[in-house]
Each structure stands twice: as C-alpha cells, then as structure tokens.
C-alpha cells in the first residue's frame, strides 16, 4: 500500500458522500412536492413517494430523503472500495501482499462513525414516528371524523358511528370510502376473520387489522382525488385483489354523501352541516338522540 492508494481511498469516500447527497436530492426531485397539481379523480397510482396525499406521507417522504443522504455513503463507499480493490490488488497488478493485520485506531473509527451516523438518522426518524402516533390538536371550529374499519375475507366494511353510516368497499371501486378534504380522520381497525392490513400508499398509512384487537391510525387528507390501496397482510387466496378505494372530497360533498348513504346528523352538528350545505338542503337529524338529550 502506498500514498497513491490512500489518496484514492479518500477520494472514493468523498465521492461516496457526494453521490449520497445527490441520491437523496434526486429522490426528492423524482417525487414532486406536496402542492404539485394532481389530476382529480384520474390518479389511481398516486403514491407516498411521488405524490403524497396526506401530511403523514409528506413527512415520511422527507424523512426517507434524509435517510438516503446519511446512509448511502455506507452503500457507495464499500461498493466503490470493493471495485477499487478488485482493480488494484489483483495478483497481476500487486504481486506482493502487505501483511497488515490490525489497526486499532482505524477499527475504533469505523465503529464510532456508523454509530454517530445512526443517531443522526434515528432522531428525525423518531420525530416522524411521534408525529404518526400522536393525533394533533383540533383547530377551533374543526372536528375530527371517526371511521371504524373492519377487514373481512375479502372486502372492507366501514362505519361512521357518529352518523350511523355503514358501507362496504367490495374491491371493484364502485363504492369507495369517502373522506373529507383537509380534516383529521381517525381510523380504528379490526378484523372479523384473519389478519389483514389497511394500506393506501398515497396516504402513507398502513396498519394491521387483527381480530380481537383495535389498531388506531390518523391522517389528514390534503388532496382531492381517488386513491387506491390494497390489503397488505396475506389473508387467503384472494388477498391479491382485496383492494381499497378512497375518494377525498371537500367537507360539504362529504356530508352530501353521508346523507345519501342514509346517515343522520347529530343535533349538535345540525347548524355546522347546514352552514356547509346551504339553507335550502334538508338535513336528516337524529331526533331520538335529541329527545334523549333533552330529558
């Protein structure tokens, strides 16, 4: 080993660092930013990488770009070093081997550096994880929307307990789940038979639904559109076609859909919904509840 080799090794690792930064940047560029226009109702392939449709997915996208930037030096570095070794230290080019067997400072160095880099990677990752786990506070005048989802071989049963709406997405896409734009959606997932997983890539949301348990998730859809997902836990022969369809529409349209589905609005929300839909729309209010509350 001579000085030229050492110099080349340093060049290789500097190159690996630069390549990693380029890759992380390229990942973000390949994936357009969150406010990029998306053709409404015509984008069945939107995805958390290319086109995040919730704030959760956007966080994951940025975190992934960061992870690439800090971790890929350890991909490019060893691979380029390996190629260099194959080129430089073949028997023909280097007939006499050196006899280096240990170098304690070097070993300490390559133990500590990855450990430090892992912390640099882990801290933002845990911040995103906390964001995914903690439902944000509601803004004044805002409400959240609770959806109970039940996986079944091989379709999805949804219910909005507050409005008394139950509906089934049978996988054909004819009857999608409808969610309000820019509102916080709270999902509670369970299963009535085997394990499934609810997964819509554009939302950056995936949670297993398991019989006997309730797994929660939250997200805030930030784009109007029609989104596809599918079951992400092997659940039997038709697992591959257990699709999920979600339509995100403005809040007013959401309530129109709820009423169309035979849902009833609780009395305390009557004014709110009536403001959304306009004075001339008749709103079905859940009278029994109002009566019980009066007593």
């Amino acid at each position: 080993m001579n000085k030229a080799d050492i110099r080349n090794l340093i060049l290789i690792w500097v190159g690996a660092l630069l390549l990693a930064v380029l890759t992380g940047w390229g990942f973000l560029m390949w994936a357009p930013a969150m406010d990029a226009p998306v053709p409404v109702f015509e984008a069945p392939t939107t995805h958390w990488v290319t086109d995040p449709a919730t704030s959760v997915a956007e966080q994951v996208r940025r975190n992934t770009a960061w992870t690439i930037t800090v971790i890929f030096p350890f991909l490019y570095g060893p691979l380029l070093t390996l190629l260099y070794v194959v080129w430089r230290f073949g028997k023909a080019r280097n007939p006499v081997p050196d006899s280096v067997e240990e170098n304690v400072p070097l070993e300490v160095f390559w133990t500590l550096i990855p450990a430090v880099v892992l912390v640099v990677m882990a801290v933002p990752s845990f911040a995103v994880l906390q964001y995914m786990d903690r439902v944000p506070e509601l803004n004044p005048g805002e409400q959240d929307y609770v959806v109970d989802v039940t996986g079944r071989q091989f379709d999805w049963l949804y219910s909005f307990p507050k409005y008394g709406v139950e509906m089934v997405d049978d996988g054909t896409g004819d009857n999608p789940l409808v969610l309000p734009l820019n509102q916080i959606v709270l999902m509670n997932g369970t299963s009535s038979d085997v394990n499934h997983a609810w997964w819509v890539p554009a939302f950056g949301v995936k949670f297993d639904v398991i019989p006997g348990r309730i797994n929660p998730a939250w997200f805030r859809p930030t784009k109007e559109g029609f989104f596809k997902g599918q079951c992400a836990e092997l659940c039997g022969d038709l697992h591959a076609v257990m699709f999920i369809h979600v339509k995100v529409v403005p809040e007013a349209e959401f309530f129109e859909w709820i009423i169309e589905q035979g849902g009833e609005i609780p009395p305390e929300e009557e004014e709110f919904v009536s403001n959304l839909l306009g004075e001339d729309v008749e709103i079905p209010v859940r009278r029994e509840v109002a009566h019980a509350a009066a007593e």
Binding site: M1, D5, T45, H47, V49, Q59, V60, N63, T64, T67, F74, L75, P78, L79, L82, V85, V86, F89, G90, K91, P95, V96, P97, D98, S99, V100, E101, E102, L106, E107, T111, A115, L118, M121, A122, S125, F126, L129, Q130, M132, D133, N195, A197, W199, P201, G204, K206, D208, I210, P211, G212, R213, C231, A232, L234, C235, G236, D237, H239, A240
Partner: protein, 548 residues
C-alpha cells in the same frame, strides 16, 4: 503464490485465528473410498454426515428453486393465469420453507459438520451418534413437507400467522404436515447445536486457545448458541398452533380469548435470530476465503469475533421490527427501531474488516473468491436496505411489499447463498479430492451474479412503487419490472443447473488431483483444513496436531 509472504511468528495470533502447528507425521496418507450404501446409511463419521447434509440441501435448493420458477412464471404477466391463487400461495409458502429450513440451515450444518472438527484438530464431533440422528431427522422432515402437497400444502406463508393458519381458515392436513416438518428440522438444529457447542468447548487440539480458533468455528459456535436459545421458542409457538388446530385449545383464537399477536411475538423471537443463524456461518466462511485468496490474514480477527457475538446478542432483542405495523406501544416501536439500527454497527465492522483484509492483498481470482467478493457487494446492499427497514416511518410504507422481498433476498441469496457457493468451490476439492471446473465456474458465477441482480434489484423499486408481496396478480404498470425479474430468474436457473451438472460430472471423474493444500494458501493461512489429505483420512489426522 506464497512467494514473498512473511512467515508468521511462532505463537502469535495469525490468519483466521490459527497458529503454527506441528505437521502431521505417521504412516503415508491414503485416501478413503466412501463407497457402499450401507456405509452411508449407518455412518457416524462427521465427514460423511456433513456430505449428506449438503446433498439434502442441494436437493431442497433444486425443489425450492423450482417453486420459485412457478412463482416467476405466474408473475411474468399481470394476470399470469397459470395457476389458481391457492396454488400460488402454496408455492410462496413452500419456497420459503424449503429454502430456509431445508437448504440454508442444513447446508451450513453440513459445512460445519465437515470442517469444524478438522479446523479445531479433532477426530470427530463430540457425539457422533447424535450427529447422525440429527441428520436423519431431516429426512422425514423434508418428506413430510413434500408430501403435504398431496394434502393441500400450507397457504399461509412461511410465517404461518394464525388465524389464517388456524383450524378454521386452513382446514387441510397439509398445514399440520408443515408444522411437523418444521418441528423435525428444528429438533435436528437443536441437536446439532448442542453437538457443535460441546465439540468446540472440549475437543480443540492442544494449544488451540479460544482466540486461536478459526472464524468459521467461531461463527458456528455463536450460531449454535442462537439455535439453542431461539429454536425451542419456535417449537413452542408452532406446538401451540398445532394444539389449536387439532385439540381445540385457543392460544391464538380471539373468539375464545386467545391473541393472534402472541404468535407473531413468539414466531419472530426465533425467526429474527434465524436470519443471523442463516448468515453468521457464511460470514465465517468468507473470512477464510477472502483472506486466503488475497494471500493475507484476516484483518481485525478479535474485532470479528466480538462483532459476531454482539450481532447474536442484539439479534435476540430486535424481533419486534417485523411487527411495526401490527400494533404496539409507541415507545416500543422506538426501542425496536433503535436496537435494529444498532445491528448495523457490528455488521459494518465486519464489512470494513473484510475490505481491509483484501486491501493491499494479492488477489487470486478463483471462482470461490469471485463468489466471496460478490457476497461482499451484495450483502452490503442488503445490509443498507436493512437499515432503511429499521427506520419505522419508511418501514411502515414498504412493509409487506416487494421491497422486503428484495431486502431478504439480498441478504439470504446475495448473502447466505453466495457464501455457500463460495464455500462449495473452496472446499469441494478438500472434500472430494477433485477440482470443480474453474472456467465453467466463472461462467456460473456471472450467470448467477447478473441474474441475481436482475431478479432482486427491480424488486426494490416495485416495493417502493406499491406492489404488495404474496400476490398472484398485480397492476399493469408493474409489468416491465416484473419481466426483468422473471428474466433474471432464468439466468440463475441456467447457472444453477450448470453447477449441479458440474458437481455430478466432477464426482464421476476417477482422478483425484488435489493435494492437502488445495489452493496453495496455507503458507499464509495456517488453518488445519489444508494440513490433511484431500479427502481427509477417516480419523482426519494421523497425529493430533499441536498448536503453538
């Protein structure tokens, strides 16, 4: 090739852990013909048992490879239509079960059986009869697995999560047979592990201190401890599944107070360490190959040993990273995420030490070395995607997608299988006295290496783009990448068949040309496998070597 090599000082730590020995003396060496069916059926010789393990692994690899072929044929088109979804799910479940329980684990057990006693200078394993018993347990195991196709094979994936694998949703006998098959493989592993631990603890040649033991032995020792701690937990989990299925217990039945998630915890408590069980012996092997073919000694021997042990310990503390989306306390996800990232540190030490080993070397590019170098590159890619999967926000998006399939094949195929191929080319002349064809070997390497990357690299993009795993049909925009994947399979198939053909062809040859030091590396390496004849005499060494 050893011209110009510095001689090791007597009594110092050298090479893959071995030191200067007293050469064997005694009557002239004579090779032994291992002939006769009865001899093979009744043998308790660790070398014959090791070879039988390797034959079994080769058979299971061919069977599992054929199943992969069925999967890739179906997925060459979005609506393959070659087979029913049931058959497809059987193929994915059985492909994995064959490759894990009957190919990779037995293959390392085979090399371990053959070479651990030789490398520590022993005459045989500590418990030769138990050694034979451990091997023969695998035969009914693989027969039951194969036969289960006639009774409706498991469709629940190799993970066999209940309730899908439970009595209600998998009411066919094939699922029970899968459990029995895994049980037999597990029992075999446990017996083998006890044997390895006792052998290495008590039967090292005089003078071979722990830190003079070659790295392949260290890796097998650490792996054995992992088997001993982990496999009984898997046995417990699948026994509970079995009693749920056959005796009406309800460990995993939520309708009667059971919990399907309990199975996942028990399963992964074994099956995460199992991924290290399937790679650590390979780490040991390539340490020998990289060092010897670079005409150097392994860099940072002690660091390698400590890193191996550290991986084993941490390996038992990270099982939850397979379950990030299954529902667990937020702080628990932080814990599992952090511990999983921590595995990257000792793994990094290993990769850097291998690079430092070949750096400044004088590399002899044999087929064995090419597979070892290929391993180093491919395993680095698999390790990096592993760090990504330890990162929870990313993992949740790609969990149960083809990204995971890509990752696991980079570590299990690019990792474990490449070390096995490297080891096969490295030690085949030692085991048989005959060299496999080097020129054909290089063709095989390039076929498998290119095919491997063509198959598994596009799977990363597929997973990130949203293709779920274990699906028999997919959206049309994934077609092009899937066809690359299937084409890559064909290249690997050709390479694999050439290798099998070459093995049979070479074994049929009458001439044994390999001397004791097959690759001319022992001037530097000083390991005992190159000190005995090829193949070794039944008692390995005429005189027990003395290590100084």
């Amino acid at each position: 090739m050893s011209i110009g090599t510095p001689q090791p000082e007597k009594g110092t730590l050298v090479g893959a852990g071995q030191s200067v020995y007293t050469p064997t003396e005694g009557p002239p060496h004579h090779t032994t013909e291992y002939a006769g069916v009865w001899r093979w059926l009744t043998t308790v010789d660790h070398k014959l048992i090791g070879i039988m393990y390797l034959w079994l692994a080769l058979f299971a690899a061919v069977a599992g490879g054929a199943m992969a072929g069925g999967i890739r044929a179906q997925l060459a088109f979005p609506d393959g239509g070659l087979m029913s979804p049931e058959v497809f799910n059987q193929l994915t479940a059985m492909h994995a079960s064959f490759m894990i329980f009957f190919t990779i684990i037995p293959a390392f057990a085979g090399f371990g059986n053959y070479f651990v006693p030789i490398l520590i200078g022993a005459r045989d394993m500590a418990f030769p009869k138990m050694n034979a018993f451990a091997f023969w347990l695998l035969i009914p195991g693989i027969v039951i697995m194969l036969a289960s196709f006639a009774f409706g094979a498991s469709q629940a994936g190799w993970t066999a999560y209940p309730p899908l694998s439970g009595p209600q949703y998998s009411p066919f006998a094939g699922m029970d047979m899968w459990i029995f098959g895994v049980h037999l493989a597990g029992a075999s592993s446990i017996l083998g592990a006890i044997n390895f631990i006792v052998t290495m603890t008590t039967m090292r040649a005089p003078g071979m201190k722990w830190f003079k033991m070659p790295l392949f032995c260290w890796a097998t020792l650490v792996t054995s401890w992992m088997v001993l701690v982990g496999t009984p937990v898997l046995a417990g989990a699948i026994t509970m599944l079995l009693t749920d299925r056959l005796m009406g217990t309800s460990f995993f039945n939520p309708a009667q107070g059971g919990d399907p998630l309990l199975y996942q915890h028990l399963f992964w408590f074994y099956s995460h360490p199992a991924v290290y069980i399937m790679i650590l012996p390979g780490f040991g092997m390539v340490s020998h190959i990289l060092a010897s073919h670079a005409n150097k000694r392994i860099f940072g021997y002690k660091g390698m040993v400590y890193a191996t042990a550290f991986i084993a310990v941490v390996g038992f503390l990270v099982w939850g990273h397979h379950m990030f989306s299954a529902g667990m306390e937020p702080w628990l996800r932080v814990y599992f995420s952090f511990m999983s990232m921590l595995v990257a540190v000792p793994t990094g030490i290993k990769v850097f030490s291998w690079l430092a080993t070949i750096w400044g070397g004088s590399i002899q590019f044999t087929t064995s070395m090419m597979f070892a170098l290929g391993f180093l590159g491919l395993f680095t890619i698999g390790g990096i995607s592993g760090v990504f999967l330890a990162n929870v926000p990313f993992d949740i998006q790609v969990h149960d997608t083809y990204f995971v399939v890509a990752h696991l094949h980079y570590v299990l195929f690019g990792g474990s299988a490449f070390t096995l191929l490297a080891g096969t080319y490295y030690w085949f002349p030692k085991m048989t006295g005959r060299y496999l064809s080097e020129s054909l070997g290089k063709t095989i390497f390039w076929l498998i290496f290119i095919g491997m990357n063509l198959t598994f690299m596009p799977m990363h993009w597929l997973g990130i783009a949203g293709m779920a795993r274990r699906v028999y049909t997919y959206r049309e925009e994934f077609t092009a990448l899937n066809q690359f994947v299937s084409a890559g399979y064909l290249l690997m198939l050709v390479g694999g068949l050439l290798l099998v053909g070459n093995i049979f062809y070479t074994l049929a040859a009458k001439r044994r040309t390999a001397g004791p030091d097959v690759w001319g590396v022992n001037q530097t390496q000083r390991t005992l496998d190159w000190e005995t004849t090829s193949p070794p005499v039944p008692h390995n060494f005429d005189r027990i070597p003395r290590v100084t």
